[in-house]
């Protein structure tokens, strides 16, 4: 009986802790959400109405008609999609080469990639800007995609190589004996085996792309992605925060991310942990 009571008490404590943790995370998110659907007159009240009295989509309408959020969503999707495709192709090839071949030069090249990941973006930003400008790549999709891809390369190669080292080489050797060419071998034997790692890495990279702020801040003015859009919302003066639009735009960015995280919780956890253990 005592044992049973203890167990129950433990379960209650666990739940209590979990709920407190969840509330700390969810309250700010909930506050952003209710702010986005309140009419302007009820937005600036003190104390805050935690359950909105009236409901309106006015902020969202303003975002679409006046601020022009749709093109921003479009350019975010273009940059993200192309970056993911290019990163995946390049990194699968590179991870394969790094894992399946060995030479001094190759390990040096690998070391270079790991080292380059230590260089803070802010250290390289200004020369990189001037350099890309001379190539006419500033404020263009190819330029943005190049930089986004570059930012994802070290992590992606790390994860893919790590996973590849767990796939026995025998399978590939068998394919070679059966007369498969080099490219065929990678395409039809290794690639299918790499699928779980590729999908995990793509899910995490997708979030990284959506969150990217540093690159578009420096390297594009006309092409606006969502993270830049939210930081340049029109405001009356430099001290004012356009909270109605800001909260609505926050929701437009957050809701897909939250749904995405709910669907892929296990993959994301797996990917983060795989990167962390190796690191």
């Amino acid at each position: 009986m005592n044992q049973k009571l203890k167990k129950k008490l433990l379960a209650i404590c666990q739940w209590l802790l979990a709920i407190i943790g969840a509330l700390i995370i969810l309250i700010p998110v909930y506050w952003i959400f209710i702010s986005s659907i309140k009419p302007n007159t009820e937005l600036l009240t003190s104390p805050i109405d935690w359950i909105p009295k009236h409901f309106t989509l006015q902020s969202y309408k303003t975002l679409i008609h006046t601020v022009g959020i749709l093109p921003q969503i479009g350019s975010t999707l273009i940059v993200t999609t192309l970056t993911l495709v290019i990163t995946t192709v390049f990194c699968v090839l590179a991870a394969y080469a790094f894992e399946r071949y060995s030479s001094k030069g190759l390990s040096l090249a690998y070391g270079m990639i790991v080292f380059s990941a230590m260089i803070p973006g802010i250290v390289t930003a200004r020369p990189l800007y001037d350099y890309l400008k001379s190539l006419k790549l500033v404020d263009t999709y190819p330029g943005l995609i190049l930089l986004y891809t570059s930012a994802l390369i070290p992590f992606t190669i790390l994860i893919l190589r790590n996973y590849l080292s767990g796939i026995p080489i025998d399978i590939e050797e068998a394919a070679e004996i059966d007369g498969a060419g080099h490219l065929q071998k990678i395409m039809f034997v290794t690639m299918p085996l790499l699928k779980p790692a590729v999908s995990t890495v793509c899910i995490i990279n997708f979030i990284s792309c959506l969150n990217e702020f540093f690159i578009p801040l420096f390297f594009s003015q006309k092409i606006k992605v969502l993270t830049i859009g939210i930081s340049t919302l029109p405001r009356a003066n430099s001290y004012d925060v356009p909270w109605d639009l800001l909260s609505a735009m926050g929701c437009i960015i957050l809701i897909p991310i939250i749904i995405f995280v709910m669907i892929f919780e296990e993959n994301i956890m797996e990917g983060i942990m795989a990167g962390g253990v190796k690191a």
Binding site: W15, L93, L106, I153, I157
Partner: protein, 293 residues
């Protein structure tokens, strides 16, 4: 596979060519340029033309009060934030590792701050910590009647607010990484400890802590580096204010390079920051070696 690798060594090189070219162009080349620029007069507004001026940019750096205060806040921010990251991160990781029905629910929620763009969190926090309309004061005043405080107007509390938001956003990520090493500890050890009559606290100190110490240390070094170089949160939340009180070193570089257009000087600060990073990654390598021996 082993036979004939010599002959076909061009194949792997061809395969890594794209990533090598991209990384060289976007990181190594600009770093070298930043290094060179740090010795030049590139104060564009005052008509700097790029003549080499030796260590003048670095000399100025030592006398600049703004750099000193940026350095000070960067250190405070990093140290305080990391101490809480470790304490709260380990606690949260242990919660995530508990066996109970709400596990999946908690794990999903914990990913939200990580997946949220810093700029969104920072902009929302700017409003959330607002004295009159922010939700932080609203919640506190429900427990402490009549509570009112202008967080972002005074230097000290603005710093505290920035650190709180940083913790809110990144402790969950830290915890997930710690969770990975918690899961490596087998249940048998805990069972054995239980049979030997060890209490919960004893088990924590003698089994959990030693087993995760290595991972926690390595992650901490990475998180420290990230804290030293990141300016996004400060950019979004306080714009370095009030009175430059929250302008971290990397934010100062941004202002010098893109607002004041003093490229030589910005490069010198950037190089100092980079050396700091190299020092830390050296420490990291050293730690890895020491631990695996």
């Amino acid at each position: 596979m082993k036979e004939g690798t010599k002959k076909r060594m061009w194949i792997p090189w061809l395969m890594i060519l794209p990533v090598i070219v991209i990384r060289c162009l976007t990181t190594l080349y600009p770093v070298v340029m930043t290094f060179i620029n740090s010795f030049r007069d590139l104060n564009i507004i005052n008509g700097g033309t790029g003549t080499f001026i030796g260590l003048k940019n670095y000399a100025r750096l030592l006398q600049d009060d703004k750099i000193a205060s940026s350095m000070q806040f960067t250190i405070i921010f990093t140290v305080v934030s990391m101490i809480f990251h470790i304490i709260l991160g380990v606690a949260l990781a242990m919660m995530l590792n508990m066996k109970f029905k709400g596990k999946k629910f908690l794990r999903t929620i914990v990913l939200i701050p990580w997946a949220m763009p810093t700029i969104v969190a920072g902009r929302a926090a700017r409003w959330g910590f607002n004295g009159t309309y922010g939700f932080v004061n609203d919640l506190i005043s429900r427990f402490v009647a009549g509570f009112h405080f202008d967080w972002l107007v005074q230097v000290d509390t603005a710093r505290i607010a920035v650190i709180i938001v940083d913790l809110w956003k990144d402790v969950p990520f830290f915890a997930i990484l710690v969770l990975a090493s918690l899961q490596y500890i087998s249940d048998d050890i805990y069972e054995a400890a239980k049979i030997d009559g060890a209490g919960a606290l004893r088990t924590f100190w003698s089994i959990t802590i030693p087993n995760i110490a290595k991972t926690v240390m390595l992650i901490s070094i990475f998180f420290t580096m990230w804290r030293i170089t990141n300016f996004e949160l400060v950019y979004a939340m306080t714009s370095g204010g009030p009175y430059d009180g929250t302008s971290v070193l990397s934010y100062r570089i941004l202002i010098e390079a893109f607002n004041n257009l003093n490229l030589g000087y910005a490069s010198a600060i950037a190089i100092v920051l980079f050396l700091l990073m190299l020092l830390l990654s050296g420490l990291n390598l050293f730690a890895v070696k020491k631990i695996s021996d």
